[in-house]
Amino acid sequence: MKIVYVDDDEDLRDIVELALLSHGGFELQCSTDGASALALVEQWQPDAVLSDVHMAGMDGMALLAELQSNPATARIPLIFLTATTDRQKRAGMLALGARGIIDKPFDPRRLGEHLAEMVSGAS
């Protein structure tokens, strides 16, 4: 399963990379912001995008809107990885078309399983 992970936090990028590659069954490429992720997603055509919400420049919500507006990327599901607990914001993410939300903090040992379930629509 090909995943693009977008986060401006180096520590979290490393933890997610460790979690998914240790789990097995994932290929991962990372971006540090929404703008660079757009080009990567269009070119690499991942099975899903996992993205932080709060990022400098193009944030996760803007990234989702851009992906959906591009026919080359519109079918690719986006899942948010966020510490946001605000119910309205979380509802807004799903209303905009996010496939799901994974909460920070997360258990790195369960991230791969959780993500695979969401991408396949089982969760």
């Binding site: 401006d8 520590d11 510490a83 997360f106 040992r109």
Partner: protein, 100 residues
């Protein structure tokens, strides 16, 4: 790929930069007191980012202090409450920066 060693490496990296994170909060707080309109947003964004990272890396006290600061600055303009939250977070960050 060693699941036992790599997270500890990442935790060490977090500890190594914790002191500079505390100094950044100190700078943001000065800008806030100076009336900079962007300061509150900067503090909130920084607190939000640290809360998520610290919680995932199991720096629970930092995560809680950062979340309290994020909530406080989103809910109130009470400078004393915000100052208190920043002071707690800075103390937590400095504590881990000097720990083994």
């Amino acid at each position: 790929m060693n699941f036992e060693q790599r997270p500890e490496e990442i935790r060490k990296r977090f500890r190594a930069r914790a002191s500079s994170e505390a100094m950044q909060f100190e700078g943001d707080w000065k800008h806030y007191l100076d009336g900079s309109p962007a300061a509150a947003a900067a503090i909130r964004e920084r607190a939000h980012a640290i809360a998520g990272t610290a919680a995932t890396l199991q720096f629970d006290a930092i995560a809680e202090a950062a979340k309290n600061l994020e909530d406080a600055i989103g809910q109130t303009a009470d400078a004393e409450r915000i100052r208190a939250c920043i002071a707690v977070l800075m103390a937590c960050l400095r504590a881990v920066s000097t720990s083994e």
